[in-house]
Homo-oligomer: 312 residues x 4
Amino acid sequence: MYNFRTDLALERRDLYNKAHNLKNDIEGIETEEEKIDDNILVSRVKITNEKGEEAIGKKKGNYITVDVKNLKIANEEEIQKTSEVVTKELKALLEKHIAEKDSILIVGLGNIYVTPDSLGPKVINEVDITRHLLEYMPEVLDKNTREVSAISPGVLGTTGIETMEILKGIIDNVKPKLVIIIDALASRNIERISSSVQLADTGIVPGAGVGNARKELTENTLGIPVIAMGIPTVVEAATIAADSLTLFIKKAQENGESNDFLNKLQEEDKYQIIKEILAPEEYNFIVTPKEIDSLIEKMKDIVARGINFAIN
Amino acid sequence: MYNFRTDLALERRDLYNKAHNLKNDIEGIETEEEKIDDNILVSRVKITNEKGEEAIGKKKGNYITVDVKNLKIANEEEIQKTSEVVTKELKALLEKHIAEKDSILIVGLGNIYVTPDSLGPKVINEVDITRHLLEYMPEVLDKNTREVSAISPGVLGTTGIETMEILKGIIDNVKPKLVIIIDALASRNIERISSSVQLADTGIVPGAGVGNARKELTENTLGIPVIAMGIPTVVEAATIAADSLTLFIKKAQENGESNDFLNKLQEEDKYQIIKEILAPEEYNFIVTPKEIDSLIEKMKDIVARGINFAIN
Amino acid sequence: MYNFRTDLALERRDLYNKAHNLKNDIEGIETEEEKIDDNILVSRVKITNEKGEEAIGKKKGNYITVDVKNLKIANEEEIQKTSEVVTKELKALLEKHIAEKDSILIVGLGNIYVTPDSLGPKVINEVDITRHLLEYMPEVLDKNTREVSAISPGVLGTTGIETMEILKGIIDNVKPKLVIIIDALASRNIERISSSVQLADTGIVPGAGVGNARKELTENTLGIPVIAMGIPTVVEAATIAADSLTLFIKKAQENGESNDFLNKLQEEDKYQIIKEILAPEEYNFIVTPKEIDSLIEKMKDIVARGINFAIN
Amino acid sequence: MYNFRTDLALERRDLYNKAHNLKNDIEGIETEEEKIDDNILVSRVKITNEKGEEAIGKKKGNYITVDVKNLKIANEEEIQKTSEVVTKELKALLEKHIAEKDSILIVGLGNIYVTPDSLGPKVINEVDITRHLLEYMPEVLDKNTREVSAISPGVLGTTGIETMEILKGIIDNVKPKLVIIIDALASRNIERISSSVQLADTGIVPGAGVGNARKELTENTLGIPVIAMGIPTVVEAATIAADSLTLFIKKAQENGESNDFLNKLQEEDKYQIIKEILAPEEYNFIVTPKEIDSLIEKMKDIVARGINFAIN
């Protein structure tokens, strides 16, 4: 399969269509867009059969991307508005899989000590939890309050334990009806960094986007439906370089400087060779806006509020 | 039972002996002190039978307190030295309960977002983990490397799940032979804040010191030996006030101003009434040094290094 | 002068009136209250002459306190509403001292690395600055934009330089018409911690509340009007203990246990003696809610938005 | 002049020599290397005349680079050793410019809220300051203690004030004999990120490496000698992409795929065009290792200790 180097179904659809010079989606993939206002765009990709699955390497299911422009300079009002769009989309997904008051476990993947990877744990700190109150102080809550619990399991490099092993134990004890997982994703497009949320009802494979495959977190492995909320926070350095090269060659070709070598080069995947050129063994280099710390704070507000209003 | 308002066995022993005007320990309690240098003091309290248990409200077992003076101005060398003392004491405790290469799970209790409660999660971030390497890259490790994993389960108020429920699931999957738990404690003595480590092979009840009892984390509940490393990071405001009042009255009595009311008052426990006076419903007030942020950083180095050299 | 152990004019007025059994304010002090809603209360204390100055140890001028109840559980909407109240009061004070578009320098006192002292620097990070844009990119701004600059000078213990020395040099170069200073205050009342803002047009003496006097920051020393926005973030531990003792004795007296010693004691200031009992030399102990980290974040939003809407 | 896109004199020398196919340094540039151990390398570049200045675009003076390999996995001992190398080099530079007990002002440039830019302020928090003690408590210090003060002036985007304007005011009041400035640099080489320190006695132009020129901070503008300690913490994304492209073409040429277009392309500077392809208007994209947060912590220890032992 083509190496998309993005976790976003929307970007994969675009890359697939471009690579095959398609104007319309193939059978098995359905897309639609909804422009909320000048800054907010909702795109929905639905994969309906195995042909669609194979084409873009994503499981059958619903993938909704909420893009927000200019989050860097967004004010409180725009953050609130975006969170309301997330609430609406999340609510619609939840309704497809569980009943109104079914219990939910929210999982924040990532490492609180690594800024671009800290979104999951930060959201967990802000979501409204009810499970302990229902158990110890039910009198303070409305009687049909939904049971909500949450966990930040940490990352394999810090715990030595697969996320899946940790979650399985917790799900066995807590017995939720559905899991919502928040995770940092890799994207192809630097403009999407911490400016998009992808909601998917197909679960996720943690770390898939940056090359460190882990056991998948899906209904298959966890036994209950899994909604993934993924936020692109990095682009791999080699991706940027390879994409730059492609654009560079295209520009040269447009200027009439086409030649056999360039034409051949243009069709190849430059990613792997650039990865070898770039990568010192020790580090995992990423491209990130200098303002990532404050972008993460804003995105945390959008996701946490989006969840709180959808589930309570 | 007397309300000691401290999690430290050493302070409880002192309070007990003082309250009963004892010069020597009662049967069932054995203590010894070892002065390492001008700044570091090791105190060992051993509770050997039920009489000892009842007297100070702590389970049979070993309680070692490492006190370090002037941590606020301690330099790198002193931090290193203290961590070596912790290593030695921890190693001795481990040898009493498991074999040299038996697997260990390290648990950092507490809330990373609340400074005086953040020590556990911060230590977890620094301990040397091997379990994932043993599974995926055994070739990079010495062949008789001990299996070490770690987890920061979060706090009930953030997760809605009892720590015990989380740990049980993990222990079932990871199957360690022993658990080391790091936790922030309450102390009676403000000079001990973030300047002492208590090692105990009896496990702990999280949050016991500040009034919010949780299910205990002991060999009883977890099925394997539990070593607790507790670091005092707070004194309750009402404790400070009650202790001040006691000292105040004592001073008045010494100055010949004794009278029936004062004498009676001196024998009573002023804590509960002061707690009522002090406590607005919403908050949990604590006394902490202004420098708590930097003290926690230093204590984190002492505990993390102390563990790393003891287990590897 | 009486040791009020609070920086809030409102608390000093209350303590003064209580100590002198006054029902009404003395000449030289005028007060009024405005209840905005169930959670927000505005109190205005105006000191009009030297008699008022002497009584409560605060300079002639206006002191406005905005109290917000239950900030711990306040949602986004309540934070916004409180910030609007701060905006209104700040705007009124500004109009008393400068013209609509006169330039302003905003100063955030405190130490970013010490949680209860970090509010000033955190607010500076959020205020909208225009001075550099007016100089380098005037085309992006409205032509009658006010010139706003900002600085976090750090604290004497970290810089070795008096705040006054730093600000003087900057004011000489930047030449603002007014300074707004944000500072953490000490309060008498633990319920006020990070739940009140005092606005005063009299400037401040940094650190006055917790015993470490510094050179004053006022129109006298800086040459331009100084508006101080002070937020109580700590109560001294000795204050809590002394106040507890006072309440304790009062309760005893009410129960008919009055006697000469108690009566005498009740009239004395217990603060100094308790301070000696409590204070180990090395540390500055404070009382703070366990939730201080998140309270500071919320208060930062209130103050930063309050300023941004008042000055732009 | 050639756009080196690096602040390191050492990298510029290498790029210059390579571009001109030089084996030896030109007249006006002298270099030497000293291997301290397997992990630490010291390189000294001395620019002795205007020819050297012009060649690599750096002022006459001394540029010492301390490179440390594998800082990511460095332990306490290696950090200490590196800091000792920094101490030795800094001491040698200081002796060239001031007498043993002359007063020093330490300046930490950068933004504490932007991880890769936070090194300067973090170092300031750890350096040993004496100026306030010499003034208020001289009895606690040795009588020939050097006067040391420090400041983190913030960044133009947060303060609206040029760093130079802030420092001038402070230097006028504090009157130090020399300034040491700590700053984050841009490098060409991703392996150098937070793994090198450049010491230079020529001062610096803040932000030069990432395209946002500011007024220079040199003896010219500040009136006293300026030692700059620069630590590479970022590589610009466009730099990575352009360098990848150069390497890519070189590889193609080596494989006999040379052709006129490629040959011509190889000689051009691809940076500017790639910058246009890459850069969305809003953001400043940087390449950084995922582990930048912990690398910054380690580098902070190296620099702060390096300074503390050199100046006291």
